[in-house]
Symmetry: C2
Subunit: 148 residues, 2 copies
DNA sequence: TCATAAAATGATAATGATTATCAAAATAGA
DNA sequence: TCTATTTTGATAATCATTATCATTTTATGA
C-alpha cells in the first residue's frame, strides 16, 4: 500500500517534471505512517526525528505537493490551522471534532451526501467538494465535564 | 430590528461591565447594514468611510465582542480567513460557496440537521455546533466555465 | 458639574503560520 | 563525468491577528 502511494507520487512527479528526492520520500514515509490529522508543524517534528536536516519550508512545500497529487487532503478546522489527512481511494468522510480535547473522529453518511447534492442542484450550484464538521464533546470528555 | 440588536448588545455589555462606546455603536451600525459575510479587513474598510479614526484593532476586538454577544457568527472558510455573518434569532444555516467568484449562498435543511445529530449520538458525541460548506460553481460561473 | 476609577482606544510592535528569496546542493539525463 | 534544472535549507518577508501601552473616553458617585 505504501509502495503503491510512493509509486503514485513518483508518477505524479514525473508527469509534472518534478524530481524524486530523498526528502520527499522520507516525508511521504512519515506522513503515511500516521493516521492522525496532522498540522505541518506536527509532521515537521516527526520528520525531524528521522532526518533532522530537513527544513520546515520543505515540509510545507512537500505537503502541498501531496495534496496536488491526490495523496493528502487539506483541512482547515475552526482554529484556522491547516491539517492534512490521507486520501484513501474512492473514500470521502467527514469529521466529528471534540471542542475540548481536539479528538477527530471520521464518519461517512450516504444520505447526507445525497442531500447535499440535491441542495446544490436546487440552488443551481454544481459542487465539487464539501466540508462537514460536527463540533461538540467526545464520549470521554462528556464523562468528565459536568453539564452546565 | 437594528435598534433591537443595539439594545441587545448594550445589555450584553452592561452585564459584562463593558462600556458602550461610540466606536462600538458605529461598528455595529455598519455591520448590521450589510448582509454579506465580511472579513475583518472588509468591515474595517467600510467603517473607515464613516469614521476614519477608528483603528483596525478596535474592529477586531469589537467583532469578537459581537460574536460573544450572539450578534455575529465567526466562520472560517477554506482560505483560512475569518469572516463574520449576522446571527438571526433562532436560525441556523449552512453555506454554498462558489470556488470561482467566492459567492456565498445560505441554505438550511432540517433533514441534514437531524442526521448530524444521529451520527453524533451514534459515536457517543454530544454536538454543540457544526459547519457545513459545499464548494463548487454557482449558476453564473457554471455558465462561463466550460466543463473540462 | 467635577473628580476619579476603570474600560477602551489607536498606533504599532509582536506573534505565529505560511511563503518568498537565494546561494548551494541534489537530481536526472546525455 | 558534465550540465541544466529542480530542490533544498535557512531565513527574510508577508499577512492576519493579537499584545502592549500611553492616552482618551466613559460612567458613576459626590
Amino acid at each position: 500500500m505504501i509502495l503503491q502511494k510512493k509509486s503514485a507520487f513518483n508518477q505524479f512527479a514525473a508527469a509534472r517534471g518534478l524530481r524524486s528526492t530523498r526528502q520527499r520520500d522520507l516525508i511521504l514515509d512519515v506522513f503515511l505512517s500516521t493516521h492522525e490529522h496532522l498540522s505541518v508543524e506536527e509532521l515537521y517534528l516527526k520528520v525531524k526525528v528521522s532526518a533532522p536536516g530537513i527544513g520546515q519550508a520543505t515540509v510545507y512545500r512537500t505537503l502541498k505537493l501531496f495534496a496536488e497529487a491526490g495523496l493528502a487532503r487539506e483541512m482547515t478546522l475552526s482554529d484556522g490551522q491547516t491539517r492534512y489527512e490521507h486520501v484513501m481511494a474512492g473514500e470521502h468522510h467527514d469529521h466529528l471534532i471534540c471542542s475540548r480535547c481536539a479528538t477527530i473522529v471520521e464518519f461517512e453518511d450516504a444520505t447526507i451526501e445525497r442531500l447535499q447534492n440535491e441542495i446544490a442542484a436546487r440552488h443551481g450550484f454544481s459542487i465539487r467538494s464539501h466540508r462537514l464538521e460536527l463540533y461538540g464533546l467526545c464520549p470521554a470528555c462528556k464523562e468528565t465535564v459536568p453539564v452546565p
